[in-house]
C-alpha cells in the first residue's frame, strides 16, 4: 500500500482539474455520462410507453364474431417493471453526475468527492445490469416460449410490443457498457489520486 504523504495530496489533484481550462479527459467523461443518461432515459421511456392492444376473433356465433381484446402492457411482468425503475434511477444518477461535473466543481465533502462518485457509479452499474438482464431473459422467454413448461410464445401475436421492448433493451445494454467504462474511469481516478 502506498504510504500517505499528508492530506494535501488529494486536494492538489482535485484542484488541478477544476482549473479554468478543463482537460480533455474530463470533457470525455462528461460526454460519456451524457450519452449514458440519454441511453438509460430512452430505455426507460420506450418501455414505459410500450403497449399494444389486439382484438382476436375466437368464435363465430351465427353471423356475429365474438371478439376478445387483449392488451400487452409492461406492467404485466415484474421484470419489465424492475427494468423501467432501474433505468429511471440510473438516468437520474447520470443526470446528477453530469450536473456535478459541469457546474459543481466546488462541491466537496471532506475530500470524499471522488470516492462518492466512484461508489455511486459502481452501485448504478449493478442496478442497470440487473434490470437489463432480467428484462432480456424475460423477452427471450416471450420470443421463444418454453416447451418444457408448456409456456407459449407471445411475440408472434404482439409483434410491435416485442419490437419496442427489444429496442428498449438494446438502449439499456448500450447504457450498461457506457456506465461500466465510466465506473472504471472513476475508480482509476480514485486510485490515481491516492498515490
Amino acid at each position: 500500500m502506498a504510504p500517505q504523504s499528508g492530506t494535501e495530496k488529494p486536494m492538489f489533484g482535485y484542484g488541478s482539474i477544476s482549473c479554468k481550462a478543463k482537460s480533455r479527459w474530463s470533457w470525455t467523461m462528461v460526454g460519456l455520462r451524457l450519452l449514458a443518461f440519454l441511453a438509460t432515459a430512452a430505455a426507460a421511456v420506450v418501455m414505459l410507453l410500450n403497449k399494444q392492444t389486439k382484438t382476436f376473433v375466437i368464435a363465430t356465433v351465427g353471423t356475429t364474431p365474438v371478439n376478445l381484446t387483449l392488451t400487452a402492457k409492461f406492467q404485466h411482468t415484474p421484470a419489465f417493471v424492475f427494468f423501467v425503475v432501474a433505468n429511471g434511477l440510473a438516468s437520474i444518477h447520470n443526470l446528477l453526475m453530469v450536473m456535478v461535473d459541469l457546474f459543481g466543481s466546488k462541491v466537496d465533502y471532506k475530500g470524499l468527492r471522488f470516492a462518492m462518485i466512484a461508489i455511486l457509479d459502481m452501485l448504478n452499474v449493478a442496478l442497470v445490469s440487473g434490470g437489463a438482464n432480467a428484462a432480456a431473459f424475460m423477452a427471450e422467454l416471450g420470443k421463444n416460449g418454453n416447451s418444457h413448461a408448456r409456456w407459449d410464445k407471445i411475440c408472434d401475436r404482439f409483434g410491435r410490443f416485442c419490437d419496442r421492448g427489444g429496442g428498449a433493451l438494446i438502449a439499456s445494454f448500450v447504457a450498461l457498457a457506457l456506465m461500466l467504462i465510466i465506473s472504471v474511469i472513476s475508480i482509476v481516478k480514485v486510485l490515481k489520486s491516492n498515490k
Binding site: 387483449l70 470524499l112 461508489i119 431473459f137 427471450e140 409456456w151 461500466l180 491516492n194
Partner: protein
Amino acid sequence: MVKTRRIITTLLRLLALGATLSATVVMVTSHDSADVLNLKFSAKYTNSPTFKYYVIAEAIATGYSLIVLFLSSKSLVWRLIVILDVVIAMLLTSSISAALAIAQIGKKGNSHAGWLPICGQVPKFCDHVTGALIAGFVAAIVYLVLNLYSLHAVLSPLFPVKP
C-alpha cells in the same frame, strides 16, 4: 492496518466463494419429474436458458474468487483486481436478477400471457432452485460489500478525521 484489510477482504472472498460454489452445485443438481395425466413431466435446469446462464455466471465467479484468493499480496495487480471485482459484481447481479424473474413466473405464473405456474407439479425442483437463488443472492450482496470495502480501504488515507 494493511493486515486488517487483507484479513477482511480474504474473509469476504471466502464467503463469496462458498456462496457462488453452493449456488452452482445446487442449481446443477436440481431435477424433478412428475407424472401428470400419463404425461411425464420432467424439470431440469437445462430446460431454461436463464438457469444455464445462471450456472455459467456463478461458475465464472467461483473460479475468479478462487484465483484471487491464492494471489500473492503484490500490489501491482490489486488495482486490476478492484476493477475486475466491479465487473464480477455486475455479472452476479445480472444472473441473479434474470433467474429470479424466470423463477417468479414458474412460481406464480403469468395470467396475462396464459402461462401456468409449474411449482405445483415439480415441488422438489422449485425448492432446489429457491435454495440456489438464495445462495446467489448472498453472493451478489457479499460482492457488493467487498467492492464498497475495497473502495473505502483504498481511500482511508484521505479521511482527515480518524474514525
